[in-house]
C-alpha cells in the first residue's frame, strides 16, 4: 500500500472549492484519500502551491502531421536537444515539435498529467497511437476528425442523425478515439479540389451540404450518443481578417441544443484556439482584435466552452487539418509547405511560422489570446492553450501564465513591441487590469478542461476518490512574487505525482509513470445500413481493406482506459 502525504501547501482546487488554504493532500494506491496512516511518506509543501495535475484540452503532439513536422524540420532540433536526464529516461530533442519522449517529460515537468491529441486522421490512427505509446507519463486520448468525412457528409445531407451516430461509434472504436473533432467543416473536403468553404453557408463541392448542416448534425449525433466530450470544433475561415463573424455564426449553430451525458459535461460545443478566430478588419492593414465581441457571446452562453490558442512569439511549426489554410499561409510567408490529403476523411498541412514581436499582426495576435482569457467571466469555460505548436509550443505555458497573472509583465511586453502604438490601438489589452488568480488558473487548466472533456470524476481535482495527480509548485501564492517567479515555478514543478507515483522531483523526471490511453467505447443498436455502407466504401474507395483498418492490440495501446457509453435503446 503506497501512501503519501503532502503537507502544509497552499491548495487550490476548484473541485472541492479550496482557494489557497493551507491543507494536506493524502494519496493512497493512486487515489486521493481523506487521510493516510502514519507510515505514509511525507512531503513538506510549506510555502508552496499545490494543485491537481493539469489537463491539456487541445495540442498536436502525436501523429502523421506532427511527425512530418519533426522530420522535415531538422532545424527545429538546433535548440532543446539534450542527453538523457537519468539512466531511466530517453534522450530528447526538438523545440516546437519535440520528440515523443520530450513531449511526455516536458508536460510532466510543468505538472500536466492528461493531454489530448487534437486531430487524428482515422486512416493514420495506428501512427497516432504508436506515438502516444512512446510519450511517457501523461495519459492521452486522441480526437478523430469527422467534419469532412464522406460518411458524415452523406448521412447529414439527408439529416440521418442516428446513422451518423452509429458511424461515429464505429469509428471511435476502429480508431480508438476519444471525441468528435471538426476542422474547417466541409472546407477540407473542398480542398481536395483546391477549394475552400469560408462561411458556414458555403456549399461543399459535390456533396451538396453546408458547414452549418455538418456542425448541427454532429452536435445532434454527439448528444444522441451522450459522449463524454462535446463536439470540438475549429470553425471555417481560420486566420483571416474579419473572421470573427464566421466564428459567431458557428457559435450560434449550437443554440437550442441540450446536453445529454452522464459525465457532468455542460457544454454542447467546444470551440478551440479562438484567438485564430477573433479577428476584425478586412485586410492585414486594418487587422484588429474582436475578442470583446467573441467573449460577450461566450460569457452569455453557458452551452459553450473555448480554449485560447495563445501566441507565444516564437518560431514554430503550424499544422492543421485545415488544408486550405496552410496553403494560404505558405503563399503569405513563402516557407516550406507540406500537405497530405487523406482519402474519404480529411487533409493536413504544415508550414513553419515565425511570430515576430516586430510584426504588427503577430503582436496583435498575441494580445488577442490574452484578452480572451482576461475577458472570460467563467474560468471554468475558458482554457489556456497554444494550439501547440500552432501559436507556439506548449512549453511556453508558464510564460502565458506569467502574462495572465501579472499585468506588469504583460504591459512590459506590450509596450516594447516595435509597433506598440498600432498594436495598442488595435487591441483592448492595455485597458485590461485583471490578473488571473491561482484559483482561476486551476479552473482554466485543471477543473475546467477536465469537466469539458467529461473527465471531472477522475482528473483535474483533489477530491477523495479522484486519481492522485498532484503537483507542488515552488511559489508562495501569498507573495511577494514577480512575473518571472511565476514562469520559473510553473516550468519545473517541485513534485509531480501521476496516479500516485512520484514522476518529477525538483524539475527532474525520475519515473516514466504508468501511461494510459483514453478512448470512448460507445455502444449503439445494431445498424445494418451503416455496416453495409462501411463495407461498400472500403470495397470501392478506400486503399486499405476493412479488416486492416481497426487499431487493435498491445503494441498500439498497451494500457487502455476505455470510457463506456451506452446509447442503445429499446427497439
Amino acid at each position: 500500500m503506497a501512501e503519501y502525504l503532502i503537507k502544509n501547501g497552499f491548495v487550490f482546487d476548484p473541485v472541492t472549492g479550496v482557494k489557497g488554504d493551507k491543507k494536506d493532500v493524502a494519496i493512497r494506491d493512486g487515489k486521493i484519500v481523506d487521510s493516510v496512516s502514519s507510515s505514509a511518506k511525507v512531503y513538506d509543501a510549506a510555502g508552496k502551491t499545490v494543485m491537481a495535475g493539469a489537463v491539456e484540452v487541445h495540442a498536436h503532439v502525436a501523429g502523421p502531421k506532427v511527425n512530418e513536422g519533426r522530420n522535415y524540420r531538422p532545424e527545429d532540433k538546433l535548440f532543446g536537444t539534450r542527453v538523457r536526464d537519468s539512466k531511466d529516461t530517453r534522450m530528447t530533442g526538438g523545440f516546437s515539435i519535440p520528440t515523443t519522449f520530450k513531449t511526455g517529460y516536458s508536460y510532466a515537468k510543468m505538472g500536466y498529467t492528461v493531454v489530448m491529441e487534437a486531430a487524428m486522421p482515422p486512416l493514420y490512427a495506428r501512427h497516432v497511437h504508436e506515438e502516444m505509446r512512446d510519450t511517457p507519463i501523461i495519459d492521452q486520448g486522441a480526437f478523430p476528425v469527422f467534419g469532412n468525412n464522406w460518411f458524415v457528409l452523406e448521412y447529414l445531407k439527408n439529416n440521418e442523425v442516428e446513422n451518423t451516430a452509429a458511424y461515429i461509434a464505429w469509428l471511435l472504436r476502429a480508431s480508438k478515439g476519444y471525441a468528435v473533432k471538426v476542422v474547417n467543416p466541409g472546407g477540407t473536403e473542398a480542398w481536395a479540389w483546391g477549394l475552400n468553404c469560408l462561411s458556414v453557408n458555403d456549399p461543399v463541392p459535390y456533396f451538396d451540404i453546408t458547414p452549418a448542416q455538418i456542425v448541427k448534425g454532429l452536435i445532434e449525433a454527439n448528444e444522441y450518443l451522450g459522449l463524454p466530450h462535446s463536439i470540438h470544433i475549429h470553425a471555417n475561415n481560420l486566420g483571416n481578417p474579419g473572421n470573427f463573424q464566421t466564428t459567431l455564426d458557428t457559435f450560434k449553430l449550437a443554440e437550442g441544443y441540450k446536453t445529454n451525458n452522464k459525465f457532468g459535461r455542460e457544454q454542447t460545443m467546444h470551440h478551440t484556439h479562438v484567438q485564430f478566430h477573433s479577428y476584425g478588419g478586412d485586410n492585414w492593414g486594418n487587422f484588429e482584435s474582436k475578442a470583446d465581441a467573441i467573449m460577450d457571446y461566450v460569457n452569455a452562453n453557458p452551452n459553450l466552452t473555448i480554449d485560447t490558442g495563445n501566441v507565444t512569439l516564437d518560431e514554430t511549426t503550424t499544422m492543421t487539418a485545415d488544408g486550405p489554410f496552410e496553403h494560404h499561409l505558405t503563399e503569405l510567408n513563402h516557407l516550406k509547405w507540406a500537405n497530405v490529403d487523406v482519402e474519404l476523411e480529411t487533409a493536413a498541412g504544415i508550414v513553419p511560422y515565425v511570430y515576430s514581436p516586430d510584426i504588427k499582426v503577430c503582436a496583435i495576435q498575441w494580445a488577442i489570446g490574452l484578452e480572451l482569457a482576461l475577458l472570460a467571466k467563467d474560468p471554468m469555460r475558458c482554457f489556456i492553450t497554444t494550439d501547440h505548436p500552432n501559436a507556439g509550443p506548449f512549453t511556453r505555458y508558464p510564460r502565458i501564465m506569467k502574462w495572465l497573472m501579472s499585468k506588469e509583465s504583460r504591459d512590459e511586453r506590450l509596450n516594447t513591441f516595435k509597433h506598440a502604438d498600432k498594436v495598442i490601438s488595435s487591441t483592448l489589452l492595455a485597458g485590461l487590469d485583471r490578473e488571473i488568480t491561482f484559483y482561476e488558473l486551476a479552473q482554466m487548466t485543471r477543473a475546467g478542461p477536465a469537466k469539458a472533456l467529461g473527465l471531472a470524476g477522475t482528473y483535474g481535482g483533489l477530491a477523495p476518490g479522484m486519481d492522485a495527480d498532484v503537483v507542488v509548485y515552488d511559489i508562495n501564492p501569498e507573495g511577494p512574487f514577480t512575473g518571472e517567479d511565476i514562469e520559473r515555478a510553473f516550468t519545473d514543478a517541485s513534485l509531480v505525482f501521476k496516479t500516485g507515483t512520484l514522476v518529477v522531483e525538483n524539475g527532474r523526471v525520475i519515473n516514466n509513470g504508468n501511461k494510459r490511453t483514453l478512448w470512448v467505447d460507445a455502444k449503439v443498436n445494431e445498424n445494418a445500413q451503416v455496416m453495409r455502407d462501411v463495407e461498400e466504401k472500403f470495397l470501392k474507395y478506400y486503399s486499405v481493406s476493412l479488416k486492416n483498418y481497426e487499431v487493435q492490440g498491445h503494441h498500439y495501446i498497451p494500457n487502455p482506459y476505455a470510457i463506456e457509453v451506452d446509447a442503445t435503446s429499446e427497439v
Binding site: 493514420y124 482519402e343 474519404l344 487533409a347 478506400y542 486499405v544
Partner: protein, 451 residues
C-alpha cells in the same frame, strides 16, 4: 485440407498491398498457395518455405567458412560487439516491423550508435529535399478516387511496384474516377523506353541525368515563357504540351523514383520536382509521392522521427541525436572509416551498396540479421537468421504514403527460430547489463556530460 488467410499484407515493396490471400496447411506450418500478389510478393511468401533455409545463427571461421552457433552465442557476440564499439553503424531497418525498429533504437541509444535506413541509398535525396522545400502530397486512395492525370518520373512501377498501377494509380475506378484508366492521362519521364512508358499517353525519353533541366523547363512553360528548342533531349513543343496537360488536370499527381534520387543533382532534382508540384497548385490540385522501395522503410523514418526527430542517418554517438547527411550517412561513414562495427538488420548492403563500402563492412566486426542468405550475410562475422516479418510474425508497417498497416502472421516460423524483435530485445538487455558493468571512463562522453 487447407485454410485461407485473407487481407494479408505483402511485405515486399512500399505499395504494401493488403488484399493477399494465402492458403495455409491445416497445422499452420506450410504455405500452399498465394493469391492476388505480384510475382515478387508471391515468391517472397513461397521462398520462406524453402527446404534449405538457414534456421540457426552462423559464425564466420578463420578460413571464411561458416559454423552453426546457438542464438545465445549470437546474442552475446552481438551485444559485446555493440557495447565495445565507439560508434557502431546500425543499418537497415526497412524490412522489419516498427516494433523491431523501436527496440533497435533503444540499443543504439545505449551504445551510442548511428541508425541509418535504406533511404540512405534510395529516397534519402527526397527526404533532404522535403527538408528544403516541403511536400504537397496525398494518400494513394486519393489518387484512386480523384486523379485524372498521373506522372511517373524516373520510376518504373511495372517492374518495381508491380500492383501500383492496378491498385491505386492508373486502372482502378474510384469515387470521382468511374471510368478507370479511360478517364486518366498518363505521362512517363525516363531515359529508357520502359514498360511503364510504353503504356503512357505521353512518354518523354529524356537524356539521362537531365531531370533538373526538364523540370525547370516545365516551370518556365507553366508561366508561358520562352524555352530553347530542345531541353534535356525533348523538343519544346512536347514540353509545352505536357505542361498544359498538367495545368488542366483536375487532380494530378507525380510519382517519382530512383531515376531522380540517384542521378547527379540528387536532392536538387527532387527540390524542383516538388516546386513543380507547388506551382501547379496555383492552377489546380496537385500532389507528389515518393515511390518508396522496401515495405517498411517509411516506418523506419517515422519511428526515428518521433523518437529522435530525423528520418534517417541519425547519429546517437554523442548522447543526443545528430543528423548530417554526407557525414552521418552509411556510405560516408564506411568510406571514411568512421564506424568501428556494423550491425545490419532488414537490408542487404552487401548487394546494394557500392563495393568500396561493402569492403569496409567485410573488414569490421559485423553482424547481419536476415532470414535469407545474402551477400551481406556471407561477408559478416555473424549471420543471425530470423523469422520473416509479415509472414511468420506480424507487426506495424508504413506504406509509401505513410499509412500504417498491421502486417499479419500467416504461418509458424521453423521450430526454434527467433523473431527479430525477440533477438533485439535480448541484445538490448545484455547491452544494458554490459554498460552497467563497464568501468568508469568507458561510457560515452555525452553520458558523462549528462550526469
Amino acid at each position: 485440407m487447407a485454410k485461407t488467410v485473407t487481407d494479408v499484407i505483402c511485405p515486399f515493396c512500399g505499395t504494401l498491398c493488403d488484399d493477399l490471400e494465402v492458403q495455409v496447411s491445416d497445422d499452420g506450418t506450410k504455405i500452399l498457395e498465394v493469391y492476388n500478389a505480384c510475382a515478387i510478393g508471391a515468391e517472397k511468401f513461397l521462398h520462406s518455405q524453402a527446404k534449405d533455409r538457414i534456421t540457426r545463427p552462423r559464425m564466420q571461421q578463420e578460413d571464411g567458412s561458416y559454423k552453426e552457433v546457438s542464438y545465445d552465442e549470437a546474442v552475446e557476440y552481438t551485444a559485446q560487439m555493440l557495447a565495445k564499439a565507439k560508434k557502431p553503424l546500425m543499418y537497415g531497418w526497412s524490412s522489419t516491423s516498427c516494433e523491431a525498429q523501436s527496440v533497435g533504437h533503444e540499443i543504439a541509444e545505449a551504445v551510442g550508435g548511428v541508425v541509418d535506413n535504406t533511404a540512405t541509398v534510395c529516397h534519402g535525396s527526397s527526404l533532404i529535399a522535403i527538408q528544403d522545400v516541403g511536400i504537397p502530397s496525398c494518400t494513394l486512395g486519393e489518387v484512386k478516387n480523384r486523379a485524372d492525370l498521373v506522372v511517373f518520373w524516373g520510376c518504373n512501377p511495372s517492374h518495381a511496384h508491380p500492383r501500383h498501377l492496378s491498385r491505386y494509380s492508373i486502372f482502378p475506378r474510384g469515387f470521382f474516377t468511374g471510368k478507370g484508366h479511360k478517364g486518366r492521362k498518363m505521362i512517363v519521364v525516363d531515359p529508357r523506353n520502359t514498360d511503364t512508358m510504353k503504356m503512357a499517353d505521353v512518354g518523354l525519353q529524356l537524356e539521362q541525368g537531365r531531370d533538373y533541366e526538364l523540370l525547370s523547363a516545365l516551370r518556365v512553360a507553366f508561366r508561358g515563357e520562352d524555352l530553347p528548342d530542345v531541353v534535356a533531349g525533348i523538343p519544346k513543343e512536347r514540353i509545352y504540351e505536357a505542361a498544359e496537360m498538367m495545368k488542366n488536370a483536375r487532380f494530378g499527381v507525380i510519382f517519382f523514383g530512383m531515376g531522380v534520387t540517384q542521378s547527379l543533382g540528387k536532392n536538387h532534382n527532387i527540390d524542383i520536382a516538388i516546386m513543380v508540384t507547388k506551382d501547379l497548385n496555383e492552377f489546380t490540385k496537385f500532389s507528389i509521392i515518393a515511390m518508396r522501395g522496401h515495405y517498411n522503410v517509411t516506418g523506419s523514418g517515422a519511428v526515428l522521427g518521433w523518437q529522435f526527430g530525423f528520418p534517417f542517418a541519425t547519429d546517437l554517438s554523442r548522447g543526443f541525436a545528430r543528423y548530417n547527411p554526407g557525414e552521418t550517412t552509411s556510405n560516408d561513414l564506411l568510406r571514411r572509416d568512421e564506424c568501428d562495427a556494423v550491425f545490419v538488420l532488414g537490408s542487404d548492403p552487401g548487394a546494394h551498396f557500392p563495393i568500396s563500402s561493402v569492403r569496409k563492412i567485410a573488414h569490421l566486426p559485423s553482424v547481419a540479421v536476415d532470414p535469407h542468405i545474402t551477400p551481406t550475410t556471407e561477408i559478416s562475422k555473424l549471420h543471425v537468421p530470423v523469422a520473416f516479418v509479415g509472414i511468420e510474425v506480424g507487426g506495424c508497417c508504413y506504406r509509401m504514403d505513410n499509412v500504417p498497416i498491421e502486417s499479419r502472421k500467416v504461418v509458424e516460423p521453423p521450430e526454434g527460430m527467433m523473431t527479430d524483435t525477440d533477438f533485439l530485445a535480448r541484445v538490448r538487455d545484455r547491452v544494458v547489463e554490459l554498460k552497467a558493468q563497464a568501468p568508469v571512463g568507458t561510457q560515452s562522453t555525452a553520458e558523462a556530460q549528462g550526469a
